[in-house]
Amino acid sequence: MRQVGTAMKFSSIKTMPRNVVRDTMKSIERNNLMSAASVLSVIAALIILGIFLILTINVQEVTKDVESKLELKIFLQSDFTDTQKETIQQALKKSDLIENVTFESAEEALEKFTVSLEDYAPLLSGYNSENNPMPASFVVRVTDPNDMEEVQTLAMSFKNQGVEYVRYGQEYVEALVNFNKFTNTLSIVVLVVLSMISIFIIYNTIKLTVFARRREIGIMKYVGATNAYIRAPFILEGTVLGLMGAIVAFLIIRITYYYILGLVGGNLFLPVDATLASPDAVMGQLIFFFLIYGGFIGAVGSIFAIRKFLDV
């Protein structure tokens, strides 16, 4: 019996139910109301998830962008000596946390400031190298924004040995990192809750199909059909429902997203100078995630629905 068994297993996988696609569509049609409810629930879940996903992707993108632009400024005391400057520069260059260091003399700082305030040039014209109010500084770019604080500590170790104070966009970085964490967590919570709701609705839809075909399932069991063989069409039906929901949800989100981008002209009122993620890249990630998610939700719901009926 065992030898026959293995041989049979292979051949029954090879010849899956004939007309299985037609039967699936028929069954979806027969349960049209519940099928529609399933697809709608997947659409609703995925639209909400999609909004969160787009938000998360953009927040990540903005964070990355802002972080890469962040600089640390080490302001020097007005009476620093060349030896002090040299020592500090050496120390900074040795550190592997730092990508590059540039020295900005007081004159350069004033010049920059004057240029940036061109319209008010007359106001600044009274200043020259004798009474320059601007401090000299080192402008530091770190390799990893998370090391900002460490670099700050390093610089502050030269306090009163040439260094006056250190400044970087501390608040910005922290706020962004926190917001990033928050959107990530929120997305996961939303994902879990909405997934459970969708699975439950698909589960109920497929249960109707299973119930309608319980006689057939019983006959199949008595004639010696394997569980995998019996399960296949129901899993297919659930997966098709999930995928249908995923595709519709994607189209709705895609149209809406591009419409909104068109309205704001890519000009979102962000407090920082940063670019959003490219819409095409976002949509690519989205359809990939949606299809996997939709198919998965549908299959899981179906597996739960049929489990009870297989025990004959």
Binding site: M1, M8, S11, R215, Y222, V223, G224, A225, T226, N227
Partner: protein, 229 residues
Amino acid sequence: MIEFKNVTKGYDKNKSDALKNVSLFIDKGEFVFLVGRSGAGKSTFIKLLLREIEATEGSVYINNFNVAKLSKKEIPFLRRKMGIVFQDFRLLENKSVYENVAYAMEIIGKSEKQIQKRVPLALDMVGLSHRMNHYPHELSGGEQQRVVIARAIINNPSILICDEPTGNLDPETSYEIISILEEINRRGTTVVVVTHDREIVDTMKKRVLTLEDGILKVDDATGRYGYEV
């Protein structure tokens, strides 16, 4: 070959067992009637053969194989060794006669070519070739039962189990069905018929097993109904 060795089956601790210490042996190629009042343990007997349930004590052997040792995954392959005929037919209403029989072959992965060859042969054997494209609701009870028999033998089972095959049929049709079963038996298949039909049992003069309250009361090789009504 079917063998029960001291089989006891209880469903509920508070109720008496459905089968009590039943031992029996049915050889390959035999034709056996199993009789008994309702509740005597006939359904339990069939369910044990199909491994729908497991014995509480003792063991059931089919073709020298202890069915208790089968894993869940192997049960379908045990069932392919057996054909089953139900009292209530259990045909698929939305499939034609041909499709109903072909279905049993599709399920176990036979090729379209094999199906096209074997289904007409099986339908011919039960005398339904002319009804091939009809649907179950267009057939009489006797005809429906013949379709069920064709479906049960289509995969060449070594054992054919019939649960009250004539229960819903008039006497004349019942004899036709029984003679088909006899013909199947003549070709080498072991046939077990569970029935209430005293007349048929007495006429056929086959081996009769009588169950009473879960006990195998009579095992009569000469073929008489084992209990008085």
